[in-house]
Symmetry: C2
Subunit: 356 residues, 2 copies
C-alpha cells in the first residue's frame, strides 16, 4: 500500500502556465484561432503534461491490455462462457483480435498481461508473448463474499504501476489501457455504484449483449454484492477488493504511474474507466493526465465520465474493450501533436492575420 | 447541364443485400456482435458501396481541396481579408497548412484546385502544383445580384465531376472534399436557408471568428441576397448560381461523380455540406455514398446534416474547412475496413460463441 500512496502523492496538477504557452503557440499557426477545436486542446494538454512546449512527442505508443477472470461470471451474468477470456488471450497473441488490428492501424504496440486469468498461461509468458502478473486464478464471486483480499487488490494496482513505469523507462510517450475478462462489466458497474450511490439499474448495461432476464440477474448480483460486502467508498482499495477485478486494479495502477511520471494516458471504455475512478480517488490530480478515449455504449459509462469531468474523444457507439477505443483515440491525439509541430505560422507562410 | 443530369441519373441506391452480407461477415469476427458500433456500419457501407464484400479496399485516398473567392467578402462578412485565399493556396502548395499535416497523418493525397481565386495562379498550375479550373476571378457580390451565371454554376459542378472522375479512373478508392475561400460560410448559410426556409439567424455562424456587429451584417447580407435573387429551391443549380460559390459547386460535382462511380465520399464540414445539399437535390441517392466527416462548430451545420439524415463521424468542435475533417474521418473509415479485413473469425481463432 505504501508504494501506491507514494505514487499517488507524486502526482501534481498540470501546469496552467505551460498550457497557456502551448495555446499561444497554436494561435500562431495558419488557421483561425481555436478552429481545430478539441484537437488544439489535446495538443496543448499533451505539451503541458510532458513539459515539451517546444516540440511534444507522441511516437512511442503502447496499449497495456490486461486480462483476468471473475468469480461472478459463475452466476451467469455474461453472454459468453468464461473460457473466452484465455481464448481471447491466445487471439491477442496471434494478432487476430480487434485490438491487434486497431493498434497496428494506430501505430501502437500492444502488451498483453495475465492479471488473473483462470487458466495456466505460463507457457505464453515463458515465450515472452504475454506478461505474467497473475494475482490468482480469477477473483472470487463477490455475491457470496469479497472478490479478493486487500493484499491482492494492492498487488493488482502495484503490478499495473510497475508495468507502466517499465514502459515509461523504456521510452513510452503515452500509454493506453485495455481489458479482457468475461463478466467484467459486472464489477465495473459495482464500482461506479459504490462510489456514486446512483441506482444500480441505471449503471448496469448489457455488456457483451445479454438478454433481459440475464440483465435482471446482473443487477440483483451487484445489489447483493454491495449489501453483503459494504465496500467503503472513501477507501478505493477497499472498493476494488470487495467488488472489483484484477485487471481493473491493474488499470488503476497504470493510470497512476502515467500521471506520476507526467505522461498522458488514454483510458479505454467502461472497464478502464472503472479503473480510472479508483485512480482518481487515490489522486484527484490523476484526472488531468487522462484522455477519455470514447463514449462506451455500456449504460453506466456516462456516469463515470461525468464523475471524472471528462469528455470522450470519440463516440463510435463501441462496447468492446481490449483497448480498442484507446487505439482509435490515439490516432486523434497523434494528429493533434502533428498539428502542433508541423503547421506553418502566419509569419513563416506570409498569410495575413485577422482584421475584424 | 446535360452531363450533370446524366451523372445524377447514374446514381443508384446502395444494394441492401450487399450491406446485409457485409454485416454477416462482421458478425463472424471475434467480438460480440455489433460491439464495434459505427465502425461496423462504416465498413459494411463501404463494402456495399464498392461492391467488394470479400475484401473492401481503401488504400488510395485523396482529398480535393477547392479554392475560390466570393464577391460578398467585399461587404466585410469575414474576419480575414480576402488575400488570405491565394495566400492559403500557397500554404497548401508549401505543405504548411492544417490539411497538409492531417492528410499526411491519414495517408491521403491532397489535390489543390483553383475554382475561382481572385488572383492569377496560372504559374502554380503550370508547375503542376495546383489544378486550374478557374471559372472566374471570384463570384459577384450576391447582395447586389446573382453570385454567378447559370453557365458558370454548371461549369463549376462539371469541373468537380471531371476532377473526381479522373481521380477514380486513376485508382482512388475514396475521395474527400475540402474548401478554401474567405467569406464562404456566407454562401453556405444562404444555400441551407434557400433549401430549408429556416430563419437565417439560426443558420448563420461566426465563420473564422467574427464579432457580433459583423455577424449581424452577415445575416443582413444573406437576407438581402435571398430576397433580391429569389433562388428557386426546386432547382439546385439556380440556388448555386444565385447565392453559391465556385468551390461549393465543384464540391457538389465531386460528390455526384463519387456516387455515380460507386465510391464513398468523405464530406468535410460546413462548406462541403452545402455542396452535399446541392448534390442531394440533384440525386437523393447520392446521400447513401456520403460520410459526414465531422460536426462543425459552425451553427448552421446541424441543420444541413439533419436535412441529409447523416450522423457525423467525429465531433472535434472544428470549424476550419480545407478538408481537415475529411482527413480525420478517413482514419476512422480506414480503421473500419481493416477490422473487416484483418480480424480473426470465431472459428479460425477457436473462440467460443455466445451462450445466452
Amino acid at each position: 500500500m505504501d508504494i501506491i500512496k507514494e505514487t499517488a502523492k507524486r502526482i501534481k496538477p498540470v501546469d496552467r502556465k505551460l498550457i497557456k504557452q502551448a495555446e499561444e503557440h497554436l494561435a500562431n499557426l495558419t488557421k483561425p484561432v481555436k478552429s481545430l477545436g478539441r484537437l488544439e486542446d489535446f495538443a496543448a494538454r499533451i505539451a503541458a503534461i510532458t513539459n515539451r512546449i517546444e516540440k511534444p512527442v507522441l511516437t512511442n505508443k503502447v496499449i497495456i491490455t490486461m486480462a483476468a477472470d471473475h468469480g461472478i461470471a459463475s452466476q451467469g451474468v455474461s453472454a459468453y462462457p468464461k473460457e473466452v477470456t484465455p481464448q481471447m488471450v491466445y487471439n491477442f497473441v496471434n494478432k487476430g483480435a480487434a485490438i491487434n488490428v486497431l493498434a497496428r492501424h494506430a501505430g501502437v504496440r500492444v502488451l498483453v498481461v495475465d492479471m488473473g486469468v483462470d487458466k495456466d498461461l505460463s507457457e505464453l509468458a515463458a515465450q515472452g508473448k504475454i506478461i505474467d502478473k497473475k494475482i490468482a486464478y480469477g477473483t472470487k464471486d463477490f455475491s457470496t463474499g469479497p472478490a479478493m483480499t486487500r493484499e491482492q487488490a494492492v498487488a493488482a494496482v502495484t503490478a499495473g504501476m510497475e508495468l507502466a513505469e517499465n514502459e515509461i523507462k523504456n521510452g513510452a510517450h503515452i500509454i493506453g489501457t485495455g481489458d479482457m475478462g468475461i463478466g467484467n462489466t459486472t464489477p465495473a458497474s459495482a464500482i461506479i455504484a459504490a462510489f456514486s450511490g446512483i441506482a444500480i439499474p441505471e449503471l448496469t448495461g448489457r455488456g457483451t449483449g445479454i438478454d433481459d432476464k440475464t440483465l435482471e440477474k446482473k443487477v440483483r448480483m451487484i445489489q447483493t454484492g454491495l449489501l453483503l460486502n459494504h465496500p467503503n467508498s472513501k477507501d478505493p482499495v477497499d472498493v476494488l477488493a470487495k467488488v472489483g477485478g484484477f485487471e481493473i486494479g491493474g488499470i488503476a495502477g497504470v493510470i497512476l504511474a502515467c500521471a506520476a511520471n507526467s505522461i498522458p494516458v488514454a483510458v479505454d471504455g467502461f472497464i478502464s474507466t472503472a479503473g480510472a475512478l479508483i485512480a482518481a480517488e487515490l489522486s484527484p490530480f490523476a484526472v488531468e493526465y487522462m484522455f477519455a478515449s470514447h463514449k462506451s455504449q455500456e449504460k453506466g459509462h456516462r456516469y463515470m465520465l461525468e464523475r471524472l469531468g471528462l469528455v470522450p474523444v470519440l463516440d463510435m457507439e463501441m462496447r468492446l474493450g481490449e483497448g480498442t477505443g484507446a487505439a482509435l483515440a490515439m490516432t486523434m491525439l497523434d494528429a493533434s501533436v502533428k498539428i502542433y509541430n508541423e503547421m506553418a505560422t502566419f509569419k513563416s507562410a506570409g498569410v495575413s492575420e485577422k482584421t475584424n
